[in-house]
Amino acid sequence: MPFACIFVPDFPVEALLRNEPVLRSQALAVLEGKPPLQKVFAANENARRAGVVTGMTKLQIEPCPGLALRTRSVLQEAAAHAALLDCAQSFSPRVEDAAPDTIVLDLLGMELLFGAFSKIAHDLARRTLDFGLAANVAVAANPDTAVLAARGFRGVTVIPESKESERLGNLPVELLFAGEQNSEQFLETFHRWGIRNLRDVAALPDVPLSERLGQHGVYLQKLARGDTSRTLVPVDPPLVFEEAIELEYPLTLLEPLAFLLSQLLDHLCTRLATRALATQELRLELELADGYREEEDSVGTGALARPSRAQARQRFRRTLRLPLPLLDSKTFLKLLQLDLNAHPPGAPILKIHLAAEPVRPRPGQSGLFLPPSPEPEKLELTLARIAGIVGEDKVGSLEILDTHRPQGFRMQHFAPNNSFSPQGHRVTEKSNLQFPAAPVTALRIFRPPAAVTVTVQEGRPTFISCLKRKETCGEILWTAGPWRSCGDWWEQDGWARDEWDIAVREEASIGLYRLVRDLLGGRWLLEGSYD
């Protein structure tokens, strides 16, 4: 029963390099702690060669030439760990989350899908690199041997069955205790005995070892021989697709923000594609550089400080909702850019957090005889661009409200249905509306309605004059009406009006208009023209 292990050495460093790949060739040290007591938490190989050791203070390592310093980011480590899990689950459904930097896979039956185990190991290494992480991959007959090999050997390692002891022999004894707590005592004992590598541990006599170190010593010997056997504890993590990045310096322009968003979107889309999912909602959260001031309670009793108004504005959130599931990072980036252009953050940006809501992708099959309709990705971009020109509330489709109030409608997002979607079938049924036998006399609305002065004789308007529409001034030839309507009298914004249809002689023709008298305000308004 073969198992594979993916181990990312210097995991905190790799999590940072995922978003800053240009630093991979440099010496990089990750600091943790509050200044000025920051200490080295992790360093890459180049930094170690330069003399950087874990636990050194920032002052000690600053003189190192060419050394890049970054602050540890728990958010980025969580995102990297989630990416590692996604990568592993694209090869096997049984995956154990052994450590933040270590994932174990059960490859039973996978050779039929992906080929030989060595090929699977190389594909795993390549896939983790696509996710931005340089990992060691090892395949062995039991999980513990695979973990030891991945932690001890660089690159890809395949250990044939019954060769575990031979291959693991040269690895240092410290590997047996990686990730264990309270292991200093065992390590010190082994060092006192002159045990330096796993071959020496495997060669120890069983009974004396158990007498001196107990069952744990026997277990360590089995590990060194590659004789352990256990079942995996499979993980079923919640489907959370989030990426985050913390910035060293505040960002003040939208162009570099777009560059960083592009990276995060690429990571998200890769992870979604790995699980054959798409997304219909993107949530962007930016931490801004507004200061946070602690204010004491006015009573001064030492109660919890009330957060200042500055803290309430510290986070900037935008949510992008799409009518259909999409998985195109370029489209997402363009939509976010257009949205941020219309609603800029208003302060320098310190942290970026991007989350995607996973959904099943939409089926791609369409019919041969469907009427023309715009592609969803292009349509969203077009609508976002048009909204940037005319305003967000001035583009969309109509929804007539259930009210008698004049102009009772609201704008909503435009999402045309096609007959292949379940909603489209309902639209097909609804769309068989009764066609009028003749065209309807249409009204063209004046927004806002034009204020007019009307001369009334015997209760009927006879003359009209309008400052804004000089062509409408003149004698009213014919009138029809009034039609009275009112409503919402129980609300503060109730309305009551008389509507007249009038014909006014103009230069070359006769114009037909709707004249309205506002009964509450007493004004005369020209509401529109019949055309």
């Binding site: 063209r444 249809d501 529109g528």
Partner: protein, 295 residues
């Protein structure tokens, strides 16, 4: 059929040197670059451009007059106020939405009436309404767009962005129409310039109409333009002029109280049609509309 040159053969066989010796070098180079007349495609091998697909306008009389509206072409409808343009526009919109085609209405004056459209059986789920007659959106004061926070090029871009936000409704409409036609997939795009004054409408450059016409060529999109007077000129494949019969009535024949808008007679005249091969003769048709109140 054999082809023959249109000038004497001796002129063709004349040595180049003797011709070159009589002409300046620059003129000779230009003459050499001209295509030879012997390579002209004969008329028998010329292909006929296929007629565009016609769709119903929603009005029987208009369909009988013009054959419908052509796909992939620009159709312009002009007329004064109360001439029936918007009624025809709603009928065309209703017919297109009933075919479940995605439609877009670029409303330059924000004059669209949802109640009239609902009575005309327009399916709002298939209609994208763009309202251009708006106040320009306010500029957001922000650190990211603050002048001086970036390079000179960035500041210039911000100023361009600010200036663009002060566009007139017609300029907005032209840009929006460009975006819609480039996006593609719409069965009907209507540009409603019905309330735009003649002075402003005439300022729309012909290149814009030409660009729209080229954008919809070989596509199933119908571009329907409503204006007070012809604006698209040669770019329109079909140009209709509307007027109302009632305007010709004398003031003595005043309609009754409920008949003011009922049975409004609209006269339609084809001013120009590039769809038929033969030049279009002046043809007219009339249709009537019913009013919302009495319907």
């Amino acid at each position: 059929m054999s082809s023959f040159p249109l000038f004497p053969t001796e002129a063709v066989r004349r040595p180049v040197a003797s011709v070159a010796s009589n002409l300046p070098v620059r003129v000779f180079d230009r003459l050499s670059a001209l295509p030879k007349l012997a390579e002209v495609t004969p008329a028998s091998r010329l292909t006929v451009r296929p007629a565009p697909e016609m769709i119903t306008s929603g009005v029987r009389e208009i369909d009988a007059l013009t054959g419908g509206l052509p796909r992939g072409c620009l159709t312009e409808v002009c007329g004064p106020v109360s001439s029936g343009r918007t009624s025809l526009q709603l009928a065309v919109l209703a017919a297109a939405t009933q075919r479940q085609e995605a439609c877009a209405l670029v409303d330059v004056s924000d004059a669209f009436d949802p109640a009239s459209a609902a009575m005309a059986a327009v399916n709002f789920e298939s209609l994208l309404w763009i309202r251009c007659k708006t106040n320009p959106p306010p500029r957001h004061p922000s650190t990211a767009l603050r002048a001086g926070s970036g390079t000179e090029k960035t500041n210039q871009k911000h100023e361009d962005l600010y200036r663009r936000r002060m566009e007139t409704p017609v300029e907005q409409a032209l840009r929006v129409t460009d975006l819609l036609l480039q996006s593609g997939g719409f069965g009907l795009v209507i540009i409603d310039l019905g309330d735009v004054s003649l002075k402003i409408a005439r300022r729309i450059p012909l290149t814009s109409w030409f660009r729209f016409q080229r954008a919809i060529e070989h596509t199933p999109t119908v571009l329907f333009v409503v204006t007070q007077a012809p604006s698209a000129q040669t770019c329109a494949a079909l140009l209709l002029k509307l007027s109302t019969f009632r305007s010709k009535l004398s003031a003595l024949k005043a309609p009754s109280h409920t008949e003011l808008l009922h049975d409004l007679q609209i006269e339609t005249e084809i001013l120009c049609s590039r769809i038929a091969r033969k030049p279009a003769q002046s043809a007219t048709a009339a249709f009537s509309t019913k009013t919302v109140r009495t319907g």
